[in-house]
């Protein structure tokens, strides 16, 4: 008889083959850069070898940076507005596509398609379109903060509605048929059924999609870089410049690579703050879904 324990013992002899390569790559690609990044956020450095520990100074500078503050609020606004629009639109489309309409499969294919196009390419496609429209009024998406904001929202909706739609469709198809039937027999109209039977039943999908679109919004980089690159910028009375459509990820990138090597410590501190923010959202999602699982 081969016991479970003896199988486990022989398997362990092969650990170098099974888990070794991933652990090695994971240390190179994640663990070491992560901890080194945390350490460097407390340092003044131009190159890693010249790093000099200075404590919390970088964090103070990062939090006092006007462009960082602006990018935080701009990102939060973009994330919340896109969250609402994407989810409302995606739910509406998913609801219609689960009503046995003719051509549902083709519609689903089309709505999902933009998801496969990369962020940089998406940004250039839409900048061509917006500039095509705006050139008639002799302006450009790069010249106007409001257009830049709504341009990015439209781009995000175009890209993400199809993705969220897929999750909503899965949720809607799992609503028990007999509950819908019972509501019909009880004389509920379509709207009553939607709000009192369907929506409560797809709450888990709604939660997932809300968190997904929120974190997607906060982490957005490629689209932001390609569509406006943060432009237009304004110069404050104190001489500091603020890129008005720059989101957090792009602000961190610019602090690292375009503001000169002296600001890298501050950039790394911003990156840690950004990590805490995004990870916080992730943990909130985890805690929320766990709580629901316990309740069920």
């Amino acid at each position: 008889m081969v016991s479970r324990n003896s199988i486990r013992t022989t398997t362990r002899k092969w650990s170098w083959l099974f888990i070794g390569p991933v652990v090695a790559a994971f240390i190179i690609g994640f663990v070491w850069p992560f901890f080194q990044g945390i350490y460097l956020s407390f340092c003044k450095f131009k190159t890693i070898s010249s790093a000099e520990f200075i404590g919390l100074g970088n964090y103070g500078k990062a939090l006092a940076d006007v462009s960082f503050q602006h990018s935080f609020w701009y990102t939060a606004l973009t994330a919340v507005v896109s969250l609402v629009l994407i989810n409302v639109l995606a739910f509406m489309v998913a609801y219609l596509l689960t009503q046995n309409l003719k051509g549902s499969n083709i519609f689903r294919t089309v709505f999902f398609m933009p998801n496969l196009i990369g962020g940089i390419v998406l940004g250039y496609i839409w900048s061509m379109i917006f500039d095509g429209i705006l050139s008639a009024y002799s302006t450009s998406i790069l010249l106007n903060t409001t257009y830049g904001f709504w341009g990015l929202i439209i781009l995000m909706c175009w890209q993400q509605v199809g993705y969220m739609m897929i999750i909503y469709i899965a949720g809607l198809q799992a609503v028990p048929e007999d509950m819908l039937e019972a509501a019909k027999i009880d004389g509920a109209n379509k709207w009553q059924t939607l709000f009192q039977v369907t929506i409560p039943n797809v709450m888990p999908s709604i939660t997932i999609c809300m968190f997904l679109s929120l974190t997607n919004g906060f982490k957005l980089f490629d689209q932001n870089l390609a569509l406006t690159g943060g432009l237009p910028y304004i110069i404050n009375p104190d001489g500091s410049t603020v890129n008005t459509t720059e989101m957090l990820a792009l602000n961190i990138y610019n602090t690292f690579y375009t503001s000169g090597a002296a600001s890298r410590g501050v950039a790394q501190a911003k990156a840690v703050l950004f990590f805490i923010l995004v990870a916080g959202l992730g943990l909130a999602q985890l805690a929320y879904t766990r709580k629901r699982e316990v309740q069920q």
């Binding site: 479970r4 199988i7 022989t10 398997t11 362990r12 092969w14 650990s15 083959l17 888990i19 390569p21 991933v22 652990v23 790559a25 994971f26 190179i28 690609g29 994640f30 663990v31 992560f34 080194q36 990044g37 009503q99 003719k102 051509g103 083709i106 294919t109 089309v110 709505f111 398609m113 933009p114 998801n115 496969l116 196009i117 990369g118 962020g119 940089i120 390419v121 496609i125 061509m128 379109i129 500039d131 095509g132 050139s135 175009w158 897929i166 968190f211 997904l212 980089f221 490629d222 990820a249 990138y253 690292f256 890298r264 790394q268 990156a271 840690v272 950004f274 990590f275 995004v278 992730g282």
Partner: protein
């Protein structure tokens, strides 16, 4: 009876109207891609002024944009296609093989070390790339991982989190008895994994594979920071650098290159649509 027939008729009419409305929205949804197609055949100056008009005698330039696009930006477009393909194929293959092996080991051996690795993997899924981008690109540089043939190791490291998370979830649902039977028949762990477990993992392999392909093919920031971009550019890097290489961009040629870069994506999508949609839905756990 008449009322019932009437309601059925109204319902049918509502459905037809909804179908038509959705069809119109679908056409609007496709317009950005259509705009890329029509503008890729127009001369540069016309892209901005007549963005939504079909090419006419003045603006039509035939395949000039595509020919110009091949060497546009002082970099051969064919090279960036080749590098994108190499990096995507190698990275996806590495991730699928090594992460499925590691995930099986983690799920079955379940030692403290395994628990730590698994925890770190799940943790890495909530870490945004900006947090590690500077240090990761320096580490990759030091270790000479800055070529298309070695960057897949970086992708394996940074992408391990989601892949291991998805594989472990699936391995845990496979009954242990099958592997025990294999062991009783004299299979060692290596044979058990490759001949018994791996075939059962097929659905997850496809889902993870799709997610990794979509991620690596479209990724911009990681390769631009890690690769030596004077020598090696992927498609997204190439398109982003068109802007930097001249004062003003030749929009016609840019659209031609964008069209060339999305055609394979759309073909891939239409060919494996079912798997893609399933894979994406399965990966939705990632924030």
């Amino acid at each position: 009876m008449a009322t019932k027939e009437q309601t059925l008729a109204t319902e049918r009419r509502t459905k037809t109207i909804l179908s038509v409305v959705l069809a119109i929205i679908c056409v609007i949804y496709c317009l950005p891609v259509v705009a890329v197609v029509i503008n890729s055949f127009k001369g540069n100056t016309f892209v901005k002024t007549e963005t939504f008009a079909l090419p006419n005698e003045q603006s039509f330039v035939g395949f000039d944009n595509f020919i110009k696009g091949m060497t546009f930006g002082n970099y051969p477009f064919a090279n960036s296609v080749l590098y994108s393909a190499i990096i995507t194929v190698l990275s996806t293959a590495l991730i699928l093989i090594f992460c499925s092996m590691a995930a099986w080991y983690i799920a079955r051996v379940d030692s403290i070390f395994c628990k730590i690795v698994y925890f770190l993997c799940v943790f890495s899924m909530v870490v945004p790339f900006q947090m590690v981008m500077f240090t990761l690109s320096k580490t990759a540089d030091t270790l000479k991982l800055n070529t298309p043939w070695t960057i897949p190791i970086v992708y394996l490291g940074f992408g391990a989190g989601l892949a291991i998370f998805m594989f472990v979830g699936f391995v845990k649902s496979i009954p242990l008895e099958i592997e025990e039977a294999a062991a009783i028949d004299g299979c060692g762990p290596v044979r058990t994994f490759f001949e018994v477990v791996l075939p059962m993992l097929k659905p997850t392999l496809i889902s993870v594979g799709i997610l990794e392909i979509m991620w690596v093919w479209n990724d911009y920031l990681l390769p631009v920071l890690v690769l030596d971009i004077n020598k090696y550019r992927t498609i997204p890097i190439h398109i982003q650098y068109l802007k930097g290489s001249y004062g003003t961009v030749d929009l016609g040629a840019t659209m031609a290159l964008i069209l060339l870069s999305i055609i394979p994506v759309i073909i891939f999508y239409l060919a494996c649509q079912k798997h893609i949609i399933k894979g994406v839905a399965a990966g939705a756990v990632k924030g």
